[in-house]
């Protein structure tokens, strides 16, 4: 008879190995399958070692969940991936919260201090993950405004909600008689806290929030693993927790922001006060004269054609605008045409372009852009100098040269794609309003920039006609 702990260890090793395989696009599919198989193994091992294989309700629950999961996964479009990930995070967190809650409800009087403590914390973290993810999902899918909602005394609410939660955890840990009622209160309170903390986060900061919620959903699982004394759950939960934490760090670094800054919605607030109003005034004249057409300081349609014809080295910079306009297929058409004409085309991907880590890569992969053509920030930046033409599609802050020079603005010091070093830049954007960070983009007034305003699909069609 094999030891169940040893088997569990093997399964965890398999899951970690699966993640390891995901570090190369060539083996990533196998890595994911390995993870799935090990997960199935872990479920079976848990059922067998706890001698609960024959309980029907467990199988009914798993069947229903699998069917729903399958339907969701088949139906979802690539463009909806950010909200899908956020939703799934929330479900995992919610499940962990319920598991911890059940430990408290069914174990009254029988479980020790350690179980009571971990169950209370697991309940709290899980519930925050659930409600936070649901708000994030609503924001990402456009069911809620993506602008940060800041209440009066928001931080005060946050503080007292947290303080009360800590108090409840202490009381539950102490094992007072009213544990059941207190745990209900803790659940409601932490659900409320999840809402409080996500409504304050703005759209472009979503990559950070999703990563953080991902981390929290793993952590919630690990903590409920403590409560229910399941080593497998502890191990896998912490791997997920660590993964989300790394992504959160990467995202914060890519925006030159602290996590605290993002969570308190600071940048967006400063933006409204600082850059917003002046920028709008400056560009309003330009906007009127150019609505819906080809705009630019001194570029006409004619010399845009010349620029396109003469360019040999082209770099495409996609941003959230490409996702929003679902313009990735058109982008591929333009790139194909450019390549047919013997031009070299590369893609520059900023780490925080879009609404989740790697958002652009997935959309481009969907339309068959080879991943060898996608370059990360550090790899591509030295190349802009020798580039004839950069095409920016719906990106703003990540190419804003003000990040290098405008001290005191929210994006100062943020690593950007140095598109201003190229010979010419075509910028496709809805309008000339400053990006999410609210800092005016000097590139728009540069003589080497051509602005194409309006929907990215239409702008790309114009380019296609010129080629």
């Amino acid at each position: 008879m094999l030891d169940s702990n040893l088997l569990g260890l093997l399964l965890v090793a398999g899951i970690v190995g699966g993640i390891k395989l995901m570090s190369s696009p060539k083996t990533a599919v196998e890595g994911n399958l390995l993870g799935a198989v090990c997960m199935a193994g872990a479920i079976i091992l848990t059922l067998v070692s706890n001698q609960i294989v024959s309980i029907p309700i467990l199988w009914v629950g798993m069947m229903i969940g699998s069917v729903f999961g399958y339907m969701l996964a088949v139906k979802v479009a690539m463009i909806q991936m950010p909200q899908m990930v956020a939703l799934l995070n929330g479900l995992g967190g919610g499940s962990s919260a319920i598991v911890s809650w059940l430990v408290l409800l069914t174990g009254v009087g029988t479980i020790g201090v350690f179980e009571r403590f971990t169950a209370a914390v697991g309940l709290a973290v899980g519930a925050v993950t659930l409600s936070g993810s649901l708000i994030a999902t609503a924001k990402l899918s456009g069911k809620m405004k993506s602008k940060p909602t800041v209440l009066k005394n928001h931080s005060v609410y946050n503080f007292f909600t947290l303080l009360l939660t800590v108090l409840l955890v202490i009381l539950i840990t102490a094992g007072v008689e009213q544990t059941v009622a207190l745990s209900v209160l803790a659940m409601l309170l932490t659900l409320f806290f999840g809402v409080l903390f996500t409504i304050r986060v703005g759209g472009a900061d979503m990559p950070v929030t999703i990563s953080l919620l991902n981390s929290l959903s793993g952590l919630a699982g690990a903590i409920s693993g403590f409560a229910i004394n399941n080593p497998l759950l502890v191990a896998v939960g912490s791997v997920v927790g660590a993964s989300g934490l790394i992504l959160t760090q990467i995202m914060c670094k890519a925006m030159n922001r602290s996590l605290m800054n993002v969570l308190t919605g600071k940048t967006a607030l400063q933006a409204q006060k600082a850059g917003g109003s002046t920028a709008k005034k400056e560009v309003s004249g330009l906007k009127k004269s150019t609505t819906g057409g080809v705009a630019g300081k001194d570029s006409t349609t004619k010399n845009l054609a010349t620029i396109l014809a003469e360019a040999k080295k082209v770099i495409v910079v996609p941003g959230y605008g490409m996702a929003l306009g679902q313009a990735q297929a058109k982008v591929k058409q333009v790139v194909d045409r450019l390549e047919e004409q013997g031009k070299e085309v590369k893609f520059a991907i900023h780490p925080v372009a879009g609404r989740m880590p790697g958002h652009m890569n997935v959309l481009l992969a969907e339309v068959n852009v080879e991943y060898e053509k996608l370059y990360e920030l550090q790899a591509i930046n030295p190349e802009f100098k020798e580039t004839d033409l950069v095409i920016v599609i719906g990106a703003n802050d990540v190419v804003n040269p003000a990040a290098n020079t405008a001290e005191g603005t929210p994006i100062y010091g943020m690593p950007i794609l140095q598109v201003d070093e190229a010979k010419h830049v075509i910028i496709m954007n809805m309008d000339t309003k400053p990006g999410y960070a609210g800092v005016d983009n000097p590139l728009y007034k540069s003589p080497k920039a051509t602005l194409l305003l309006g929907d990215a699909n239409e702008s790309l069609t114009r380019i296609l006609q010129l080629l």
């Binding site: 696009p25 479920i43 969940g65 699998s66 996964a73 995992g92 959903s217 793993g218 991943y371």
Partner: protein, 92 residues
Amino acid sequence: MSILALFLLFILATVVGYKVISDVPSLLHTPLMSGTNALSGVTVLGAVVATAMAKETASQLLGAIAIILAMVNVVGGFMVTHRMLKMFKKKS
């Protein structure tokens, strides 16, 4: 397992996870995230045990909900990751 052993496991798994995931290129961050996201449904392990332990009908129903939520997370997560990763692979 003893509390101490669980804690050691927690720390070890965090370190190993951190190390392994640092190696994943940003190109694959979305699939990585949805993959580890599927893994966070591992809480289904806790859910089945907790449900089996539950004696009252209300607790059992609550447990069943936890199982359903976790399984949507697991199955949906892995399948959607598979869809994404296949797109990356077909070009190589």
